[in-house]
Symmetry: C2
Subunit: 210 residues, 2 copies
DNA sequence: ACCTGAACACCGTTCAAGT
DNA sequence: ACCTGAACACCGTTCAAGT
């Protein structure tokens, strides 16, 4: 025991306060990791605190309640999704149809690679999303991105003339619905035997475009 | 105390075993009611038991765990949704386009009137749906209903020729996606100011049909 | 077969206290 | 300002026991 006490003195042990003034982000990161490892049902405030190396009540210095941490995780998820969509879309700035298809692929990939973050963003776990301004902001920014692509497609006569925001809900809804049904296991194997989600979405979007 | 013991003997008190051998269904019913009143986050096994008038451990005589009760509630929800869709569709057996539109309206109404049951059916709360045969059966029966309507529409040249199951995923995905985004508060007010969900879905399905 | 009550581990949240 | 530890109410699940 003398040894361990000694080592504690000369080199800081990981169980010390190593959140370098940024416990808030450390908690969000820990939450994302738990989500990836144990899923939505495995996400507890106490586990998040433990993984960040603080006591179970420390998170309350940064988040008023669990919902608030979930809002922060969802916001972080939306930020990442937005960045990936932005990148995919700006890679094909001269080709609206490609923007649509590659944007959809990016959305699908995000859902597949971050399944439980995606679920927490879109499956009603967050109950009063309107109370979290940064969540509302990034989600409406993301919607605007969809509107832009839709408008570009309309200008190129790839999508029919119609109010762009209405068309955007339609396109995003089509994409989101197929992805959601797939994550729920509601797409029958008779379809999945022949096509992956990307192909199903491509088919569906192909239906809407000319 | 003599009085209470006497009254217990001559007339059965409500706190006695009044689940007439059908506690299982009483628990499902209690679960649906709690879902409607307190939402998904308010649904606990202990509350369900209390509402059904039994001890907190009584449900374990009928369901191995909470997931299993959730599966039963979801199955019951699907049964109701199926019945309502069936009824709406058979009311317009000579008019495929009407079947599609009225089926969609029924789906939307079900989601709006049973929001939290709908969420529990489709939002990943049920984690191993494949383990519950009656859930799988009714959900695949419901999918077959969509396929039938799609085929009728294809025969009437209202939907383009394509594998009916693929087209069914597309149509259901479109409907489900818009409804899900709406329940999540992800449909911007700029759109909701002008159109309700029914109209948005009608627009989207109008896009797919000729 | 069906149900109860005690028990256990875990959870979200609060609060007095420490630095 | 940031964090800890005890405490409270609630939860899912197990189990010995009662009818």
């Amino acid at each position: 025991m003398t040894v361990s006490r000694f080592s504690l003195t000369i080199s800081p042990m990981p169980s010390k306060k190593y959140h370098h003034g940024d416990l808030k982000n450390a908690l969000i990161k820990a939450g994302v990791e738990i989500l990836a490892k144990e899923g939505v049902s495995g996400l507890s405030l106490r586990k998040v605190a433990q993984r960040a190396g603080v006591s179970h009540s420390a998170p309350y210095a940064h988040f008023p309640d669990k919902q608030s941490l979930i809002a922060a995780i969802s916001t972080e998820g939306f930020n990442q999704l937005y960045a990936e969509l932005e990148s995919a879309i700006s890679s094909h700035s001269k080709n609206p149809k490609k923007q649509l298809i590659e944007g959809a692929k990016t959305y699908i990939r995000f859902a597949e690679e971050n399944t439980d973050t995606f679920k927490i963003m879109f499956s009603g776990v967050l109950e009063k999303e309107k109370d979290y301004p940064s969540f509302v902001e990034i989600s409406s920014k993301t919607f605007k991105l969809v509107v832009e692509v839709v408008q570009a497609c309309q200008s190129a006569a790839i999508l029919p003339a119609a109010p762009a925001d209405l068309m955007a809900v339609s396109v995003w809804g089509q994409l989101h619905g197929i992805v959601s049904l797939a994550l729920e296991g509601q797409v029958p194997h008779t379809v999945l035997d022949r096509h992956n989600i990307q192909e199903i979405v491509s088919f569906a979007i192909g239906q809407m475009t000319t």
